[in-house]
Each structure stands twice: as structure tokens, then as C-alpha cells.
């Protein structure tokens, strides 16, 4: 119990710090790939601090409520994950959080934000099956949905679940809002739909969105970590290294591909979920 409380508190405190540094490294590495010097590593922190210094300005006063709900549900999803809770509950809580972001975008009544919100919904439809299949795969292999059981199994789930792993990396591009699939909101300014779902969020509200991205990125990387847990220290080390590698693979993908239409994002995510995910689950069913 004490360990659970400590790990949740560690998540609440460390996730934004690590998420911020990862976001800073993301921008630095992207800049290096474009042969630029790039901003300082702490630039995302400066950005958020600046956003909190700005004047309050909102088309509707309810949008702050929705954004805070988005943040709270994402933190909640991460907290359940790091407390060793149910993997399905983590996914559903995270989905509710994402839905609040969509509602917030709709509430602003801006055409850019509304188109962004519609695309966000399509993206949710695209990645949701694969996320659920990943959880199902863990259940098939380890016989439990509980993160507590998934972090101390006897065998590493990576090789038997490699199809699900690749599928999860695929949808991670959507979740991280990286380039081929950053339809609803691009991290790079001045591109798609002005700023997509976040077009109307000013100052503090926008700052909260950035902070929730940090939280979200960390517990999504936690999913990748679960593939490598085998109860030993080495499993944890490999898991952590693969998490970092996966993050920078997404940065690499971000810088190498042009943005696709939502039809492609949707179809390809489902094809990956059906081909890699389902086939992998059939194999798990037959072999294990």
C-alpha cells in the first residue's frame, strides 16, 4: 500500500518534469535533424510559464472547466496506472479525458477548433481499438488486467506480443500528435487548421493542455514499459531504454513524413489493429 502511494506521488511529481524534458529534447532533436541549433532543453517549461503569465481570455467561461477535467482525468488515468490498477480502467479514464478536450474545443464555437474536434474524434476512433487489443493481449499472456501483476511476471511479453507492440507504436504516433497523424492539432505552429483543437485556448488554459500532454506521454510510455517487464532489473532497464527509443522513433517519424488525410490515419490504424493485433491475439490464444 505504501509503495502504491509512493509511486502515485512520484508519478504526480516526476511525470511533468520528465515529460517536459522529453518535450524539450524532442524539439532539440527535431532542430538538429533540420540542421538548426534549436531551443534550450527547458523551452517547453518556459513556454508554459509564459502561458501562465498571459491575460485571461476565453470565448466561453466553461472551457476552463472542460480543460481542467481533461487534465484531471489524464492525471487520474496515469495515477491508476502507476498505482498498479486495472489496465482497462486506465484506458477508459484516458478516453474520458480525451473526450473532455473535444468538448472544450466544441464549446469554443470556432470553426478551426470544431474541425479539429471532429478530427480528434476520428483519431480516437482510430487508436482506441489498438489500445484495447493491447490490454486484451496482456490479459491473454499474463492472465490479468492489473498492472500490479503485469510488472512482475516470469516471462517477458515482448516477443510473444510483438505484433501488438508494433501496433501500439503505430498508434503512439497518433497519441503523441506526430506528423503523419497530427490532424487535429499539430505541435508545430502555423500548420494545420491554425492550431486545431487548441486554437481558442489562451494563456493559462493552453498551459494546462501542455501540462496534461506531459502527463499523458509518460503513462503512454508506461504501456511500452509493460512489454518488457519480466520481474528482473534487466527487464526494467530494457523497458526504460525502449521507452526512450520509442519516443525518439516518433520524433524521427514526425520529421520524416508529411501529414496524411484522416481517411488514411483511420484506415491504416484499423488495418494495423486487425492484422497485427488480432493475429497476435489468435496466436496467443492457440500457443499460450
Amino acid at each position: 500500500m505504501v509503495i502504491k502511494v509512493i509511486s502515485v506521488i512520484a508519478y504526480l511529481v516526476l511525470a511533468p518534469i520528465v515529460g517536459c524534458i522529453l518535450a524539450g529534447l524532442d524539439r532539440k532533436v527535431s532542430a538538429k535533424m533540420q540542421r538548426r541549433v534549436g531551443p534550450p532543453i527547458l523551452q517547453p517549461y518556459y513556454d508554459v510559464r509564459k502561458l501562465f503569465e498571459k491575460e485571461k481570455m476565453a470565448p466561453t467561461r466553461y472551457q476552463d472547466f472542460y480543460i481542467i477535467a481533461y487534465l484531471v482525468f489524464l492525471i487520474g488515468a496515469g495515477a491508476i496506472f502507476f498505482a498498479g490498477g486495472d489496465l482497462l480502467l486506465v484506458i477508459f479514464t484516458e478516453t474520458i479525458g480525451a473526450a473532455f478536450l473535444v468538448i472544450a474545443a466544441y464549446s469554443s464555437n470556432s470553426p478551426y477548433a470544431e474541425v479539429g474536434a471532429e478530427r480528434e474524434l476520428l483519431q480516437m476512433m482510430a487508436y482506441e481499438p489498438m489500445m484495447l487489443l493491447t490490454a486484451v493481449g496482456f490479459y491473454m499472456f499474463h492472465g490479468s488486467f492489473t498492472v500490479d501483476d503485469l510488472v512482475k511476471p516470469d516471462t517477458m511479453a515482448f516477443l510473444p506480443m510483438i505484433g501488438l507492440f508494433i501496433g501500439f507504436i503505430y498508434i503512439l504516433t497518433i497519441k503523441f500528435r506526430k506528423s503523419p497523424f497530427d490532424l487535429s492539432m499539430s505541435h508545430h505552429a502555423h500548420q494545420e487548421l491554425v492550431r486545431g483543437v487548441t486554437t481558442e485556448f489562451v494563456g493559462r488554459t493552453m498551459g494546462w493542455i501542455e501540462v496534461s500532454h506531459w502527463y499523458e506521454n509518460i503513462f503512454l510510455l508506461g504501456f511500452i514499459f509493460l512489454f518488457f517487464c519480466n520481474g528482473t532489473v534487466w527487464g526494467c532497464v530494457i523497458g526504460a531504454l525502449v521507452c526512450i527509443a520509442a519516443y525518439f522513433l516518433e520524433v524521427f517519424i514526425d520529421n520524416s513524413f508529411a501529414r496524411m488525410k484522416w481517411q488514411f490515419a483511420f484506415k491504416s490504424a484499423w488495418i494495423v489493429a486487425i492484422v497485427l493485433g488480432m493475429v497476435n491475439i489468435f496466436i496467443l490464444q492457440l500457443v499460450f
Binding site: 524539439r27 541549433v37 531551443p39 509564459k50 503569465e53 498571459k54 491575460e55 481570455m57 505552429a189 502555423h190
Partner: protein, 181 residues
Amino acid sequence: MAYVTKSPWVVHYDGSSCNGCDIEVLACLMPMYDVERFGIINTGNPKHADVFLVTGSVNEQNKDVVRQIYEQMPEPKVVVAVGICACHGGVFRDAYNILGGVDTVIPVDCYVPGCAARPEAIIDGVVKGLGILQAKREAMVNGAKAIPAEEEAPAEEAPAEEAAAPAEETAEEIKEEGGEA
């Protein structure tokens, strides 16, 4: 130090520019000058922007657009007029549809002369704007009224020939800033 000077996000609007200054503004973002190393991002969204870069003079058709972009930006904000057309109308000043510089419509904090303004001069203008941004932020915190733009503005409405002059000193400033970053 206010964080607003560490991550000034820019919104760029092309008034009735000949595109010369626009290309120089974009040149600032390219790997050669890479203003992102100071945290400067070119957002297309006035609601996220701190610095409003206007190129080209203001005419009857775009005065409302300029005013609306300015009003959509949350405080603290600064306006930088880039190029002689944005400063005072330039060669188009006497045209029947031209109102003049950007300051005929919205308060301008910083003027960057040149035709076209050199990237170094634009960066210098934005860096000067950051000082004003900081002062405005402090005024916001202290609850005082923001300093009127006219008093703070360097108001260097220099002719286009002098555009190369600030470039010399800015090169050093850029180096210094780059070292910090």
C-alpha cells in the same frame, strides 16, 4: 525575469507588402538564423502570440484585419512594424488606398526600417520588443496601466539606406543571446 521574454511567440501578418519583408521574416526562422533558439515560434494564431509582426503598409481593405488580429492577442503583447512600408507607408505612401504605416491603425512598439528589412534587423527589432514586453508584463503585475507605446518605442524611422547599420551591432547581440541559450 518574466518568462514572456523567453518564449515570445510571433504572429506574422502581411499587410500590402511586396513579399520582400515576408521572405526576410521567414528567413529568420530558417536554419541560418534559427530564431527558435530564443524560443521564438511563428504561430499562425493571434490568440497564442506575444509579438505581432506586420509587414507592408495598411490599406482600406486590411485595416480591420490588422485591428482584429491585434485585439485577439492577449496582453502582454507588442507590435513590431517590419520594413519601411509598415513603418510609414514607404513608396506606396501616396497611393490612394494606403492609410500609411501600421501605427495609423494600432499602436506600434518597435519600428524596423529597411527595404527589405534584413533578418538581423528584424531579430534586433524583436529583441527590442522583448524589453517592452517585459515592461508591459511588469506593469500588468503591478496593476498599473501599460506604458503607452509611443513613449517606449525607439521610433527610429530611419530611411531604408540605414538598414544595414543596425545589422552590425545585432550580429553581436545574436551571438551573446546564442551563448546564453
